[in-house]
Amino acid sequence: MSGRDTVLGKIRASMRVSGPDAERKAAVASRLRDTPTGVIPARADLPAAGQQELFCAMAAQFGASVARVNDYREVAAEVSAYLRAHNLPAEIRIGADPRLKDAGWDLEKNLELRHGASDGGDLAGVSHAMAGIAETGTLALLSGPDNPTTINFLPEHHIVVLRESDIKGDMESVWAMLREQKGKGVMPRALNLVTGPSRSGDIEQTIILGAHGPRALHIVVVA
């Protein structure tokens, strides 16, 4: 017998199930079909502007810095200003996200853009998030050529651009967006929910920001 049959057989034997088992199958099918939501905290049950404010406040509370700009064309200037303020070279690693094609890069002559996945040599990376979750100040990032996953983790400074209108109240709203974009039951290879910069408390339970992932997370919200 294969490991699969043995394990499933043992489970069924412990649960004393046999026969067509229609009722249990129906219960599973309906849960997978209906995806009931359960308890959603009222915290983020706010009008859009309130959700955006809450998102920025929560993200800041968990150690990210947040800047707001009025237009995609202002993104490059914000990135440059961030790099300067942190004494970083004017270089960034960035993917192929079309939303960042025309982000004012032409106005920042000195800024060098390196495209594609990070090889670990980058000090700063720029990504575009799919969504923000106001409830906890969390970013949702999707893998793919537009935003290679390595950019989320390898550079010391991670700058994430987020469209204001993509800020949602809760995780469940992001699941709804995902299903709309990809189809039900379909996921990108990686969906990263990111809440603040990396940290560790493994030595004497002292929390230190900047562990193996980025030491700093900077969020640029575009109106």
Partner: protein, 478 residues
């Protein structure tokens, strides 16, 4: 390191005398309890979410076979592979096989209790493959040749100067003048060393906090980012997870995520919650070329349908040990099992048999603080008591306790005899107490009087006195 739950009592007594350990254990209370409380208080729906999280897992356990099949279908649809392991040995063999097929020399590892459970590192090492732990805490204990003393804070039993000593011993490239006295310096050093290892590794191995049936997704919840580097940079990603990690949908995952980090570290969300589905896609610039999931049973299926089934709701948040007075006193290693604290006291006998592990469910005051904070509302004391019942039924209870308790029961079931016995006994004890009204030592109560006095009884029993007063009242009434 040898695991030895049957030596719990001796290990515990040793731990109590270990000054370094006692100092480090202070960080458990300081580091977790207040933060959890604050996070829970800040979310009015916290208890409702706990109820729902419990209900979701109960639903999963009642339909586990069906959800596992659905999960497998969706992993395969996304281009991944699913392997079923009935035992720890099966799981070790499967993982080794994947590594060998990938010609792996080194593998990086995200923090995973399940690979501790199956003792994977020793097996890989024995077969010429070097496992590299990348979580800071795990990395430290790997340097020391230890095993984790806590399920989410593996090195909580250590102080920073001990860690500094280990780094200096192993990182021979370190110049002597380099200051490593602060945790932040130690972390930077580990980060530098490990950076190279991620890129050199052929396979990345992680555990999973959840397996989502709806999408065939594995989820890891971390703070350091090491788990993500492990699974993104390796050519092959292997997920080792036990069968009860299944949740039906993304919505259900969100419910449990809301209680997980709050209960564990007091964060609203951990820094990285990563949903992985299958290997690198055709247009992906990064990610693993192969994606494997090893589903481990190792005794869990046998817990279904028994009084231990509720234990399978556990999400390994660590809150029960963070709040356990016994854990605070002796730390995780004293338990002599992979899983320490209250959850370990219930789970370990299920995995390894009660014969060798019987001390663990006995080493509890039943104070109930673990159950009070468990996000999945697992009745831990009740299940420890069930283990004591199994022991008693099978005559595994130590003879002195067994005889003592049966003697007590003999009298407790016979009120008249009981009255007679205590009417002699208590005045004697009272007399022994003398003027100071305390007993400094008693031959049959050494466990008590070794560390404390026994307050002497007042003399006559309450029921004797009561009967006499009532009789007097009746008499004067006539």
């Amino acid at each position: 390191m040898q695991l030895a739950a049957k030596h719990f009592k001796a290990s515990a007594s040793k731990a109590l005398l270990d000054a370094q350990l006692q100092k480090a254990l202070g960080n458990v209370e300081k580091g977790f309890i207040g933060k959890r409380q604050k996070a829970a208080d800040a979310l009015p729906e916290f208890d409702a979410l706990r109820d729902n999280a419990r209900d979701i897992k109960n639903h999963v356990l009642a339909h586990l076979d069906l959800y596992l099949e659905e999960y497998e279908r969706n992993v395969v649809a996304a281009g991944g592979h699913v392997h079923w392991a009935e035992t720890a040995e099966d799981a070790r063999r499967i993982v080794l096989d994947i590594c060998q097929k990938a010609n792996a020399r080194t593998v990086t590892k995200g923090k995973s209790m399940i690979t501790e459970e199956i003792a994977l590192n020793d097996h890989l090492t024995a077969n010429g493959i070097e496992p590299v732990e990348t979580d800071l805490g795990e990395y430290i204990i790997q340097l020391r040749g230890e095993y984790p003393s806590h399920i989410i804070a593996p090195a909580v039993h250590l102080n920073k100067d001990q860690v500094e000593g280990d780094f200096r011993r192993v990182h021979t490239h370190l110049p002597e003048g380099r200051d490593l006295s602060e945790p932040v310096a130690l972390l930077s050093e580990a980060r530098e060393v490990l950076r190279k290892r991620y890129f050199a590794a052929d396979v990345g191995i992680t555990g999973a906090n959840f397996l989502i049936a709806e999408t065939g997704t594995s989820v890891i919840v971390t703070n350091e980012g090491n788990g993500d580097l492990t699974q993104t940079l390796g050519k092959v990603h292997v997920v080792v997870a036990s069968i009860e990690k299944i949740v039906p949908t993304l919505e259900d995952t969100a419910q449990i995520l809301r209680v997980l980090a709050r209960s564990a570290t007091g964060q609203d969300m951990s820094v990285y919650t990563t949903f992985s589905t299958g290997p690198k896609r055709p247009d992906d610039p990064d990610g693993p070329g192969e994606y494997h999931v090893v589903l481990l049973d190792n005794g869990r299926s046998a817990m279904l349908g028994t009084e231990y089934q509720d234990m399978l709701r556990c999400i390994r948040c660590g809150a029960c040990m963070n709040h356990c007075p016994v854990y605070h006193a002796v730390g995780g290693h004293a338990y002599g099992s992979v899983y320490p604290g209250p959850m370990g006291a219930v789970l370990t006998p299920s995995l390894n048999g009660i014969e060798e592990t019987g001390q663990l469910p006995n080493a509890s005051t039943f104070c109930g603080r673990c159950e009070a904070v468990c996000p999945m509302r697992i009745p831990l004391p009740k299940m420890m008591r069930h283990w004591r019942e199994r022991e008693f039924e099978r005559n595994l209870t130590p003879l002195t306790s067994r005889y003592g308790i049966r003697a007590w029961a003999f009298f407790a079931k016979r009120p008249r005899l009981y009255r007679l016995a205590v009417s002699f006994g208590m005045p004697v004890l009272s007399l022994l107490g003398g003027k100071s009204r305390r007993l400094h030592s008693l031959p049959f109560a050494g466990g008590w009087t070794r560390h404390r006095d026994l307050p002497a009884p007042e003399g006559r029993t309450f029921l004797q006195e009561w009967a006499q007063r009532e009789a007097l009242k009746q008499g004067s009434g006539h």
